[in-house]
Symmetry: D2
Subunit: 372 residues, 4 copies
């Protein structure tokens, strides 16, 4: 289960403190010319050290592509790539290998696989998300060529929340701040909060808001491959995710149907809805309105303060993080949400196109859903 | 994409107003003796008419099994079953077939498939959940034989919320109320709220809380088949689901890591955690503590009041529901959440057992994760 | 593993002597108008009693469709259908339930599932092929609308062989004979052979030749989804199949590369090959030439004569078939090969179309493989 | 579709003349200690230059493992590995890039992907089989620890055939000859034949026989995942495969059922069959007898002599191979057949174990199929 997707399939491998992490992206159509500068840009936005709020581990994170390219074009064969691990410090984990770190995957990996994870979490490390960002950056370009844009930003860290309303921020504004919250005041408050917690050896969570524009209606495969379901599965595979809602979400739990229904109208060219409480999806299928969802990330479990725990023999002990961990993963999770969303949407696009190519090629003999 | 699962696979079919809905449950181990009374009980809890808060459609919903059984035992072949649709009233939908019902799947199905859904929503109808409940009732029995129990109840309808704390209600208490909220005061308030909205032709949503006890550590297949991810995908395929969180969830967004970390300790027999903010899952794998999550359902979109919309030709029109729809789906969603969870957990169990059978057969030659 | 296919997925269920067999065909594109007369015709060609060479069991085998249709058109939802079992004679199997029939699946099912199969083979019965023929008849029509034709016929029964050379027979000629071998002299010899073996209580195998015309180049997904591999998997799931070869096959094992290479030339319109020893596939992808392969069927294992065997307790015993079994399955296997091939090819078509829709919609912006 | 398997999944990547080929083997159980010397030995048996009958390309083919190992044990995470391409000679292909090599994948890749394959065949090159051998060598060790042995050898090259009867050769005898045919006389004849064809610039095919001993009954997942079907799909993904038969196969096409039925008897300990015409599989499930099958390989299509063909513009031209190609792939295919078979059988084992762990852990509470 280290493979994500159906027609666009990403298989990932590698552990935080092995020689490399990497991936194999299978099913990417031939004849596409990737812009590797942009792939590197996305990796730079995610990599450790990219924001002062995160870990101080330094990784260059420039992927090496091993296959699937010919004269700069994808050739239909699987795209394999490596990201070398260069800044490993196993000494940060010395003495920890026989202790279960609280709320980490040590205990569950031990129970599942019969082995303690390697230092730094092994396969459970968020280092896997670098692979996802690399592959997602390719999917993002493919979608962009179709007119689809994906933006995500930090909406909340701790109690500090900024809501964009309908003025979704531009990518430049998002990545101009350390917190990836495009509002300067909120950014400042978030930075102060994280800094204060870092000093106390504590940590904090938050939410990422994601908006997708330009998506055609029709994506998603009911009933078990609803677009919401596909996104939910993929997003929930990101480390530290604990919640997800679409559109109006949990906060509208006390709103009535008459308040939440999105009425259809026409903008002169096509059918739109007056409001978008549905978040762009009805019946599990995109409706052509912006896709809107929110992802909850828990606080990192590694704390720079002593915590009680057990060791492998079941004896009580204490543990204290010494690694270069994030007091808050939310800013670095922003590009991971974008990349994961891109992988799912491109896959959903290919699945829809498999059966309804005329939707995308409307100059072909008329078909009702090819119009408007 | 009408198939759910990996080793236990449910394929469903059928539309709300066709002759029948049904399913094929493949991969169920041979030699199990299902209790069909219990299957019927779960269907009775879900079926239309089971609670006064829901639709008044009447369906007996007693499944007819066509295969996979021999002398009352499963025989390893796929279990196929039908649920006949008996109380169809297409006249309720007369005149609606050319209008897009707001926030329904009419528009998206039309854009995807080029055809308006059949009256009542066709494949998009929640009638599909009857199939899921039938199959899930079998998985539930298989899990019960392993000591796993799944309980779900209504936690919130509109603004009325009841939280169980650590005293999770018994199944009898849950199904003794119309709202499926086991607290009598909350139940009464919920019933009044729904009744008031029914009279206004309006509708309301809410949340279902689900708790799973007795689950062994080790279930879930990182990184893309994390137990959270598998559950998220399956739960999001239920009609009207708009949100999900595990453990402490969205409400703990402003809590720090030191407040949320679950410290390990021993109960004398095995490793437990002092708190369960993780909701029983760490690193995507069950940790042996109760699995706890919450599912958000939106208000039904069909309103017994006029709403503006468009017809197929793009002309403005109005629409008013006349079917026997639910003003609130939450009570009937409770058994659907249980059934869906059972299907996912049994599938995850088989996946874990495929590679680590000694985990479940600890009398076999010693293996580190077979202990404790 | 009762599901075949990737984007067009057939899930089958049912046992020979239960109430019904049936299937769920998922992924069939919406908006297609099936000709159910043709579906019935294919079932008639396969059903017991369709040829005097086969079993004398009588089944009407007219499928009942339960879902996936709207106003006579496919609607994108799964197509479910039942074939009722009407002519069961469990008395034919009385006294056999504790004996392992030689070369049948009794022993292996018992070892795998812990239960003896139901009378008549249960899930292992060739009755499953009726489901495949029903679904395949729909795929066949879809392919026919694209210009693809699939023909299969009996090439050999026992030592009697007829080779078509390049004059592939028409469907009418094939189904005009009892043996499904279109050559009258060979048909007569085959009938006499089978009749003689029937009188001796013995049985015989043979081969089916299949030719597909009109297939575009490009189908098949290297490296593990080569068109040969997809066909091989599907064909080998047919009961009694023991061999398969493509193109020149086993008989050309002593031919050199210079004799077997298919040289490219042009027929004025498109690229063709001078010979077709490759059988229409190179590198696992269709090359636009006719697809040609041969399937080997073993003799039926049920003999109307005593055979030594063991019973469940391991004691020696004898067994003698009394059912209405085929002395030769080859004639009835002919439509099963056609149907299975149709399901695979339509699936491969959708998979190719998913990534290269412009191949099928060449009026779209030019792309090298969209031409010629 | 560059992934093979269900619970043990091999994803491969890389092209003949890129920097590396490699694979990701997912689902291998944790806690297994691979012997990497044996992995290297299998690669040595397959690698170019391993036998004088094959290509003279030289590749060291020692895989570099990047993940999935911890202290020499598998840790449950995916095993990724690379095989660097070191002996590339693109000059051998100079001037060929615009010509379709007859019976190669150039034309079909061009039609499918819109691009000519890279020199040497790109993804269509048999270099992919090195990845399969590496992964298969791990599966082979896992199976060996369960008592399963897989042997394959050259049975036929051109018209020269040696049949082992029931005295299956030992691995040492097989790899002691250049032809991988353990019979010295046949080996000599085969070498002379290949040498003579090499001098003429021609090529030849043949067959590989494979026998698996020690396999328990019960493997295979009817009806579409029959063990035969799983093996057929995997074997047919090997380059140049054109035929496959199990047990008595095509040569017994004129034998009657009474001659081919395998009668059950007991060897005092367990149920066996007197003969093994079924090749160890009945009803698609292993029966505990040796698995026996034969794979047909066509002659290599690259000839060191001029052949007519077309170029990309459709003009007639000639082509002549200058690379270091094999006049016969059969000897080098022998370890590829072994490795592919090992991957399928380990996957089938895990699938069976998923549902019937007690089969493999018979000391657990009694279950009928756990005995005998």
């Amino acid at each position: 289960m280290n493979t994500l997707g159906h027609l666009l399939r990403l298989t990932t491998f590698g552990e935080s403190h092995g020689p490399a992490v990497g991936g194999v992206l299978d099913g990417f159509p031939a004849g596409f010319k990737p812009d590797f500068e942009k792939v590197n840009l996305w990796n730079a936005r995610r990599r450790p050290g990219s924001t002062s709020l995160g870990t101080r581990r330094e990784e260059a994170d420039v992927p090496e592509f091993l296959s699937g390219l010919q004269d700069g074009l994808t050739n239909g064969a699987p795209l394999a790539f490596l990201l070398r691990n260069t800044d490993q410090r196993p000494q940060d984990y010395a003495g920890l290998r026989h202790k279960f770190r609280p709320s980490h995957a040590d205990f569950t990996y031990f129970k599942k696989y019969g082995l303690m994870p390697a230092p730094g979490g092994g396969r459970a490390s968020a280092r896997e998300t670098a692979v996802r960002v690399t592959a997602g950056a390719l999917a993002l370009q493919w979608l962009a060529a179709k007119g689809v844009g994906i933006r995500a930003w930090t909406e909340q860290i701790g109690a500090i929340r900024w809501t964009a309303g309908d003025n979704w921020p531009e990518e430049e504004a998002i990545y101009a701040t350390e917190s990836r919250c495009p509002d300067p005041h909120s950014d400042e408050a978030m930075r102060h909060l994280v800094q204060a917690l870092r000093e106390k050896g504590d940590s904090i969570g938050g939410t990422v808001r994601c908006v997708v524009t330009g998506l055609p209606p029709g994506l998603g495969e009911p009933v078990y491959g609803k677009l919401t379901a596909l996104l939910a599965m993929a997003l929930w595979s990101i480390n530290a995710v604990k919640g997800l809602d679409f559109g109006a979400g949990f906060e509208a739990v006390d709103h009535t149907g008459s308040a939440l229904n999105d009425l259809f109208e026409t903008d002169g060219l096509k059918v739109v809805t007056r409001t978008n409480h549905s978040g762009g999806i009805q019946g599990g299928i995109s409706n052509g309105m912006p896709l809107v969802f929110r992802v909850l990330f828990k606080p990192p479990s590694t704390l720079a303060r002593p915590q009680e725990t057990l060791d492998l023999s079941g004896q009580k002990t204490t543990i204290e993080g010494r690694g270069r961990h994030d007091p808050c993963v939310v800013p670095r999770a922003v590009p991971v949400v974008v990349a994961t969303t891109a992988l799912v949407l491109m896959d959903a696009w290919l699945m829809h196109q498999a059966r309804y190519p005329e939707f995308f090629y409307p100059q072909s003999p008329a078909f009702p859903h090819a119009t408007g």
